[in-house]
């Protein structure tokens, strides 16, 4: 019976065409696929509710796009900083890694600050001016649910990146862990690209 588990000479037991380069990376991708389904469901739901609504304000007129265009730019730049930090740690350049991952975290925090300002301004000024409210209008409800769900992801990403930075500085994490954290951060950027288009521009 032992013949059934005998591997050919020279082959690694766990190796197959489906074996990932890195199991942690595969785990993160599986998580992101599940997370993408959550965002996908919300965005599809948003589209259907908007299509079925008799009236829907022009988003760019109510929400404004100057601040969110800056927030989009900020997340794209922070994604670039993230890949530059990965590039640095892969080359063993720790000071450059610290600088770019620190900037990535800072970019996330500024994004959250902008979102807090945007929400405050909407709730206290813009929505009342347009006679819209979170509880009564699907326009406002879907906006806060989608951007809030994304904002929580950014918050999680900032905490995650800060933990990775601390672990690398203590010598416990290496390039592999930074790459996995980067996947999460780029996913947050990718989702914002879609939210910016569907919620603010269309």
């Amino acid at each position: 019976m032992t013949d059934a588990v005998t591997m050919p000479a020279g082959a690694e037991p766990a190796e197959s065409p489906l074996t990932p380069e890195n199991w942690g990376k595969l785990g993160m991708w599986l998580f992101l696929a599940g997370d993408a389904m959550s965002f996908g469901g919300l965005i599809v739901g948003y589209g259907i509710l908007r299509h079925a609504s008799k009236t829907w304000p022009v988003p760019s007129e109510v929400l404004g796009i100057n601040l969110t265009a800056f927030m989009t730019f900020l997340l794209i730049v922070s994604s670039v900083w993230m890949v530059l930090s990965l590039s640095a740690i892969q080359k063993g350049d720790l000071p450059r890694f610290k600088k770019f991952l620190g900037l990535t975290i800072l970019g996330g925090l500024v994004f959250l600050g902008c979102q807090a300002y945007e929400w405050t301004h909407l709730i206290t000024h813009t929505l009342p001016e347009h006679k819209l409210s979170f509880s009564k209008d699907l326009f406002a409800t879907t906006f806060f649910v989608l951007t809030g769900f994304h904002g929580m992801h950014v918050t999680g990403g900032v905490i995650y990146n800060a933990c990775v930075l601390a672990a690398v500085l203590r010598g416990r994490y290496g390039a592999k862990h930074v790459e996995i954290a980067g996947l999460y951060w780029h996913f947050v950027d990718l989702v914002w690209i879609l939210i910016f288009t569907f919620v603010y521009l269309i």
């Binding site: 065409p17 489906l18 074996t19 990932p20 380069e21 890195n22 990376k25 595969l26 991708w29 599986l30 992101l32 696929a33 993408a36 389904m37 996908g40 469901g41 965005i43 599809v44 259907i48 299509h51 079925a52 760019s60 796009i65 265009a69 989009t72 730019f73 794209i76 730049v77 994604s79 670039v80 993230m82 890949v83 530059l84 590039s87 892969q90 390039a175 592999k176 790459e179 980067g182 996947l183 780029h186 996913f187 950027d189 990718l190 690209i193 879609l194 910016f196 288009t197 569907f198 521009l201 269309i202």
Partner: protein
């Protein structure tokens, strides 16, 4: 297994493309053309930007096909969701 061995992508090149596409997106909404044409252009630009992030920043272009299949699975399910809801979106 070893760490990533592929050649490092041109990250700054991708950044400039993302910036250009974002500026185009903002410009598109002010075009004096039919709304449906604007929507199609915006969706195409957003998908292009998302693809750039996934392929180059998330290194999907250099990964095994397994990860590509995992990454695409949510989109398949979203299309399925839309198809299942079509009778409700366009009732007779």
């Amino acid at each position: 297994m070893s760490a990533t061995t592929h050649k490092e992508p041109n990250y700054m090149g991708v950044f400039w493309w993302l910036l250009i596409l974002t500026i185009l997106e903002i410009g598109v909404i002010y075009l004096p053309i039919a709304k449906i044409a604007i929507v199609i252009m915006l969706i195409a630009l957003a998908i292009s930007k998302a693809a750039l992030v996934a392929l180059y920043f998330m290194h999907l272009k250099f990964e095994r096909i397994t990860l590509g299949a995992v990454a695409l699975s949510p989109f398949v399910l979203c299309v399925f969701l839309i198809l299942m809801l079509l009778p409700d979106i366009f009732p007779h």
